[in-house]
């Protein structure tokens, strides 16, 4: 691993790097030791707190149903938000002002509002104006919030994907006499989909993480919330947190791996136009809410690649 930021280390630099490594490692060990010590002092490492996770029932009764709800909300949100986002994104590029402007307003509005606010609002709205039962309502509210927000983000991804295609594609299509709809549906969209796929898969990570908002604020029994019932039973708040965090990390790691695998495959595709929205660039920042900040410039040169790979 060489980098342009520093020279290949000579004897002195090597010595210095070793010293830095040792000091850094010592600090890390100290920190870990403190964490371990505190936890064992406070009885957080007692086997009574951890052994429940080796029993099947802790999973089948509490965690797995929660995980199913997390995935259910995430999947529903994705399936609804995707077509909605595509429609909004295309509408935003329409030649007609009366289509373009409202679509733009909707997209910008819902991107500016916290998902949590949307969920709380949806929950109250369903409670006041519909007959959805109280145990289904949090799911509806969570999905609604996620859809409104993510459809707007996806709309921007779709727009960026289509705009990233070379202009010649549109021009050539027009030259052979295709109509606007035909240009969009048979030339631009099929290519854009390949371009966008990694970014879209990465958006799933965002959705999966955001389901936890519903657990904390709306009593939606997703993973984070079913942890509560589990912890009430085994009196292990901290261990249950750690286990739930690990589940989320594993889940999202699988999704990001899928995203970078897709990105890899698509980049290698021969007939590709070469335009790919790097998942990290668009959805990376989108993970906290904002979308992208655009595709970030020149090909990676300094300090490793831009991708997610560790």
């Amino acid at each position: 691993m060489s980098s342009v930021l520093y020279d290949t280390p000579g004897p002195r630099a090597k010595r210095r790097n070793v010293i830095f490594s040792v000091v850094f490692a010592a600090l890390m060990v100290l920190l870990l030791w403190w964490v371990w010590q505190t936890m064992s002092d406070k009885g957080q490492l007692d086997s009574a707190k951890w052994s429940p996770f080796t029993e099947a029932q802790a999973w089948t009764t509490y965690l797995l149903p929660g995980l199913v709800n997390t995935l259910k909300a995430a999947a529903l949100a994705m399936v609804i938000a995707l077509p909605l986002g595509a429609i909004l994104g295309i509408a935003r590029m329409s030649d007609h002002r009366w289509v373009r402007v409202p679509a733009g307003v909707i997209v910008e509005f819902f991107r500016a509002i916290p998902v949590l606010l949307l969920m709380v609002f949806a929950n109250q709205f369903y409670s006041e104006s519909t007959q959805i039962s109280s145990d289904e309502r949090p799911l509806y509210a969570v999905v609604t919030g996620l859809v409104l927000y993510n459809a707007s983000v996806l709309a921007e991804i779709v727009r960026a994907g289509i705009l990233s295609l070379p202009k010649g594609q549109t021009e050539a299509a027009q030259a052979i006499g295709l109509r606007k709809t035909q240009v969009m549906s048979s030339i631009l969209l099929p290519q854009a989909v390949t371009v966008m796929l990694p970014a879209i898969v990465s958006q799933l990570v965002v959705i999966v993480k955001d389901t936890a908002l519903g657990g904390a604020m709306l009593n939606f029994t997703e993973l984070l919330n079913s942890r509560k019932t589990l912890a009430a039973n085994y009196a292990n708040v901290i261990p249950s947190f750690i286990v739930v965090a690990v589940i989320f990390i594993v889940l999202n790691f699988i999704l990001t791996s899928l995203a970078s695998w897709l990105e890899d495959r698509l980049r290698r595709g021969k007939k590709s136009t070469g335009a790919v929205l790097p998942a990290a660039a668009v959805a990376g920042t989108a993970a906290t809410g904002a979308d992208g900040g655009g595709v970030i410039g020149a090909p990676g040169v300094i300090g490793g690649d831009v991708g997610d790979k560790p």
């Binding site: 009574a48 802790a58 199913v68 259910k72 109280s134 145990d135 989909v193 009196a235």
Partner: protein, 279 residues
């Protein structure tokens, strides 16, 4: 080219599979009122001694025992009783909407609630109390709480009671569940956990916390636990009241108290008379 199609297809299949499982598990949920054979009862899922979802999926606690007895008296077999979680904030709503037939979830009777739902009972008289560290000596009455750090559950009446009446200068932290207060109580981050003594007793009795905490024994309020029923359903109220009376007279009430609160060393009040609300 081919691969790209496969990728797209597999992504779709992946998404569909997720929704398919989603829809599959949906069906189990809403068999609420169907046929009139089953009865749906709202309880708490996360309060040891009161209403707790056990690892094997069954339920335990005093409220659960009372609810089961009542449902049986109403003519339902044990297997036809379906329990549902009704968080504190959602109880009136769930009754009004008919999501549950009745609620036994440490539901104390007060005027504000009586405007929205009807109550049978009461079936237990509890008091707001404090759970403190076993070596705590500084708290012997309500006003001692001023300047202390208290923990309770978001939106609970106990929290409001402390804020408005007992000790307005106490610091109050509101957590998702009572069990989330316990680590902080043990480490000194909070000084006391406040709610009904019946609920606190359940936590004090949990194996992991045995000997660490004690009840302060303050009777800061009277909480008359009733069974919540949809507003206007007097027939149901009467039936439940009859069941509760029978439960007391045939000794089942005492047995349930003993089974659920006995290990906690909690001195319960005698069984309240139906309709006799202690202010």
């Amino acid at each position: 080219m081919k691969l790209r199609k496969v990728t797209a297809a597999s992504a779709t299949v992946f998404a569909l599979a997720l929704t398919a499982t989603a829809c599959g598990s949906d069906d189990g949920g809403d068999s609420g009122d169907g046929g009139g054979k089953k009865i749906t009862v709202g309880i708490k899922y996360d309060q040891p001694g009161i209403g707790l979802k056990e690892p094997d999926g069954s339920f335990s606690g005093f409220d659960v025992d009372v609810a089961t007895y009542v449902a049986k008296e109403l003519g339902y077999a044990e297997k036809d009783i379906e329990f549902k979680e009704t968080p504190s904030a959602d109880r009136e709503n769930a009754l009004q909407r008919g999501d549950v037939d009745f609620i036994a979830a440490s539901y104390s009777i007060n005027d504000e609630r009586k405007a929205k739902v009807d109550f049978a009972g009461p079936y237990l008289l509890a008091h707001q109390d404090l759970l403190v560290r076993a070596d705590e000596k500084g708290i012997s009455e309500g006003t001692d709480l001023n300047g202390k750090k208290l923990c309770s559950v978001t939106g609970s009446t106990s929290a409001q009671n402390i804020k408005n009446e007992i000790a307005p200068k106490a610091q109050l932290r509101e957590n998702g569940t009572y069990s989330e207060c316990l680590d902080g109580l043990a480490s000194g981050a909070v000084d006391a956990l406040t709610t009904d003594d019946s609920i606190l007793a359940g936590y004090a009795a949990q194996d992991q916390y045995k000997g660490k905490f004690k009840l302060a024994g303050l009777k800061l309020s009277n909480e008359n636990y009733g069974i919540g029923v949809k507003k206007g359903d007097t027939e149901m109220v009467d039936k439940i009241n009859k069941a509760l009376e029978k439960m007391e007279s045939d000794g089942s009430w005492e047995k349930a108290v003993e089974a659920n609160f006995g290990p906690a060393n909690y001195k319960n009040e005698p069984a309240p008379k139906i309709g006799d609300i202690v202010k």
